[in-house]
Symmetry: C2
Subunit: 222 residues, 2 copies
């Protein structure tokens, strides 16, 4: 069994790649650069994780063309990254329109070309920021699109083991299977020392705290 | 009303862009380079058509990363392009796995960023080569993925006016609305003079012949 695994190098996707490997899949790691601020750090993290697993292949794809379309602080570096604010009702400005549609389309092309059986993506709807392309109904719809849009003999399962889990639960799984979190990178904002206050840092820190664990990476100001 | 229109520069997509414009849409032309052999010619054709319409915007996106995945003669230049063979049952080697999934994901990101109302894509299932990502059921599934994977306030209609038409019917529409076919490019194989024998040339020539018209472009050997 072979699986394409979307591997950003963050906590969720690194846990996912280890998890898929433990399930018996050979891993085709797919790292996508979409022009985000912290790409260099994320790529290094993803590559390290892929080598440690070890993955069968590690492919990098650049979709920084999303920058041309604007509208996200992750890809438009003239917009400041919002800090986490639990009171806001609308989407944070880190939203990249239909980013996961792009990621899953690339993964499907890769999977069909390599006759892979599955695609793993680490979306999780629960304590994320309400991105519409992380919702279970999006994943279900995309599975239909894969089924209809690939060869009749192709059967690629879209697997999202974390979609209903909290980040604490994901971390709990990762600790059990020995994910080396010291090599992962989550911060949206900075590349030297994690800022500690963006949405990604917020949720990561909360997950470690909830399990009474110490995050092995350093944060700014403590 | 604004619409993202996928514009390769070929016969169908050029007709489509003119058609969408006649329907009252302002056109956001999206040209995608996926590493195909005849890209330079196609880009020039798309750009010319966009200027003639005239489109509100013309954006080019490079997804030649699909080359890394192999498996198509359009993107892997070590594989020869098959000539048209109506007796073959399986897909021709010009098939690029899930290419339209990639195109539509990019179009969706662009459309949501620019608050466009629609995406036009010139797929047509009838006398094409049986590509699964041109089928109506793929388009329907992708519409569901767009609806689920974009903001709740976003409503982007995926419009495929040609999906049940033959190439002759499309050409008939284009002739009525004055599409300048002399600037379009269809050949899969060559960039100087169209080969006349690849699948794309075959269907284009047959469409002109069926209407008793002369194709304004030249073909090799006649």
């Amino acid at each position: 069994m072979k699986a394409v695994c979307l591997l950003s190098g963050g906590m969720d996707s690194s846990t996912l790649a280890y998890y898929a490997s433990r399930q018996g899949y050979e891993i085709l790691a797919l790292h996508v650069n979409y022009g985000q601020r912290t790409e260099a750090k994320e790529r290094a993290a993803a590559n390290k994780i892929a080598r440690l697993i070890p993955a069968l292949d590690f492919v990098e794809v650049d979709i920084s063309y999303l920058r041309q379309f604007g509208m996200s602080s992750l890809t438009d570096h003239s917009i400041g990254v919002e800090t986490f604010d639990e009171t806001r009702a609308d989407l944070p400005n880190t939203y990249v329109p239909f980013r996961n549609g792009n990621l899953l389309s690339i993964a499907t092309s890769y999977a069909e070309s390599q006759a892979a059986d599955a695609i793993f993506i680490g979306v999780q709807a629960q304590d994320y920021s309400g991105y519409p392309d992380c919702r279970p109904q999006f994943i279900e719809a995309f599975q239909q699109a894969i089924d209809a849009g690939t060869r009749d003999g192709t059967r690629i399962r879209l697997i999202t083991p974390f979609v209903s889990m909290s980040k604490s639960e994901i971390l709990g799984i990762g600790m059990k299977i020995g994910v080396p979190y010291e090599y992962t990178w989550s911060c949206y904002q900075d590349e030297e020392i994690a800022c500690g206050i963006c949405g990604a840092c917020h949720f990561r820190r909360a997950a470690f705290e909830s399990l009474g664990l110490k995050d092995p990476i350093k944060y700014r100001g403590g």
